[in-house]
């Protein structure tokens, strides 16, 4: 029983790490742009597919980890500015419902772009996982990739992001725009640049989440929507715009899900949402969200 709990916890940690990478980008973009990017899930999926392709093309095991990072950066730097400048910049002053519809339309488009480029057959490429080898835990073999790399990268991303936002000038500029765009502009901050930068970082984080997930699973159409729904559950439970909160709830939901896999498999898909509904019923603004005067 104790061993089973340990295994479930380790699995949950890996799941949480993957979900966190995507959720933190989603919540960061929302915090600054005040737009929930439904297409964030597609960036995750495209990152995953591109990473798989690059790893396959390179064929050199030790380069495969670099290929994952390269794929994430490529998606962030190419698609991020394209989407923000080309589409989102046109709708910042529109109603919420229209903003949602626009990112949803983008999601519909990107889901098919992904199908057109990579087809609908499952894609599997686990070179990075094989390269890192395995570790024994309680008589059971784990891949180092799942046990060390995933949680390590997630933790490093969290720390780096928090350091960037709280300690560097550029990061604090972003925070300033989040607090009050007009005042920030009055003191000379170019909010257009801040939006562009934030969205690019968010897109790269989503793609990094995808690139990290790619070697552990078969890529099929539909992984994007699963991920956007799950990461929305994470950031809604945490409170929209909360970065450390997203880490805590990702862990909560990741663990909840893996315990369900071990002890009540039929509930696996439901657990994250049960947690979310339970939290939102008690705290409508999320675990770490501040209750503000209703914005209407």
């Amino acid at each position: 029983m104790g061993l089973l709990l340990l295994l479930a916890a380790l699995d949950g940690l890996a799941t949480a790490a993957q979900v966190f990478m995507v959720a933190v980008g989603l919540t960061l973009v929302f915090g600054v742009l005040k737009i929930l990017n439904v297409a964030h899930g597609s960036l995750f999926a495209i990152g995953a597919y591109l990473a798989s392709t690059l790893v396959g093309l390179l064929g050199v095991p030790w380069l495969s980890l670099l290929a994952l990072v390269a794929a994430a950066l490529a998606v962030g730097v190419v698609l991020g500015p394209l989407i923000e400048r080309g589409l989102l910049a046109r709708i910042y002053d529109k109603e919420h419902v229209l903003q949602l519809l626009v990112t949803f339309a983008l999601f519909m488009i990107l889901e098919d772009v992904q199908k057109l480029v990579w087809g609908v057959q499952p894609l599997f490429e686990d070179a990075p996982v094989r390269f890192l080898g395995r570790i024994e835990v309680g008589g059971i073999f784990y891949t180092s990739y799942q046990l060390l790399l995933l949680p390590g990268v997630a933790l490093a991303s969290l720390l780096a992001l928090v350091w960037f936002l709280r300690r560097t000038l550029l990061g604090r500029t972003i925070v300033a725009v989040t607090h009050d765009r007009e005042v920030a502009e009055a003191i000379g901050i170019d909010s257009r640049r801040v939006y562009l930068l934030t969205f690019t970082i968010g897109a790269a984080l989503a793609a990094m989440g995808g690139a990290l997930a790619a070697p552990t699973t078969s890529l099929v159409p539909g992984i994007g929507v699963q991920m956007i729904v799950l990461s929305f559950a994470v950031i809604a439970t945490a409170g929209l715009g909360r970065i450390e909160g997203a880490a805590v709830t990702a862990l909560l939901i990741g663990l909840g899900r893996s315990f369900a896999v071990y002890f009540a498999p039929e509930l696996e898909v439901v657990i994250p949402y049960l947690l979310m509904v339970a939290v939102l019923l008690v705290r409508p603004a999320g675990l770490f969200g501040s209750t503000e005067v209703r914005r209407v």
């Binding site: 929930l36 046109r90 519809l101 098919d112 057109l116 729904v229 809604a236 898909v269 209407v296």
Partner: protein
Amino acid sequence: MRRYLPVAAAVALLLLLAVLQPWLRFVLTIALSTGLAVLGIAMLLRAGQVSFGHALYVAAGAYAVAFARPHLGEGLLLLLLATLVGTLLGLLVGLFVARYRDIFFGMLNLAFSMVAWSLLEKLYGLTRGTDGIRVARPMLLGFALEGAAWEWALLLAALAAALLAGALVARYLASPAGSALGAIKTRETRLEFAGVSARRVLLQAYVVSAGLAGLGGAFVALATLHVTPLLAYWTHSGELVFVAILGGTGNVLGPFLGAVVFELVRVHAAASFPDAWQMILGLVLLAIILTAARGLVGLLDDLAARLGRRG
């Protein structure tokens, strides 16, 4: 009387199409059932809220028919039952989601529908997973119908349901409760100052929209005689939102007009580009939103206004 002219013209055109092209009877039945679900979504759009998960209620209605069919032979009772199941599920979920607006409203609906989709796929013993459930053809008003007679009967039933639902929703939107719904979009605080509970107003509309989607789902089940989890998948919800925007939310004819055009185009286009269909929908959706167009109903209004000026 002028008010009913567009409706009469639409009904006449629809019946004409069904007479001239027999294979269209099936397509038009599906279009009307889509229109029923979209009518509910259009109501919510009045309140400035968009649901990315209404396929949940379409699936609920369709599966209600599939599960009840072995015990119930009368089609009309199945339709009623499906509406009831959609309504009750809508009440259950609505009690939760009506507390939220905008992003939360849209995404929570998406989350619930995707959970339902996963469950429909996973609980094989109950739902037969992705294989879906075959539905035996029921009787209609006690008559066991076959072939063309069945197709006509179902089409006319769907048409009757659409007319009834359209009339009721039009009445509702013109009523004080309907005006309160619109006020959620424009200025919710004032609504609360006026002593009206915004949450209750939205919940009412949500429950009605879920019931309409359930009824639409029942017609889908009866027309295709087969239900699968795909009915609850997000792409289906996306299509419903698409049709709502395409048709235009200005009046209750919009959803049905949008649905008929959508299904007619889909018959040809979806087969030609199966992997680019969502992309085309997304591009058209973007075009409509970014140009602030009012959908097909808006186009017809402009056309009518121009003709009126000339004549």
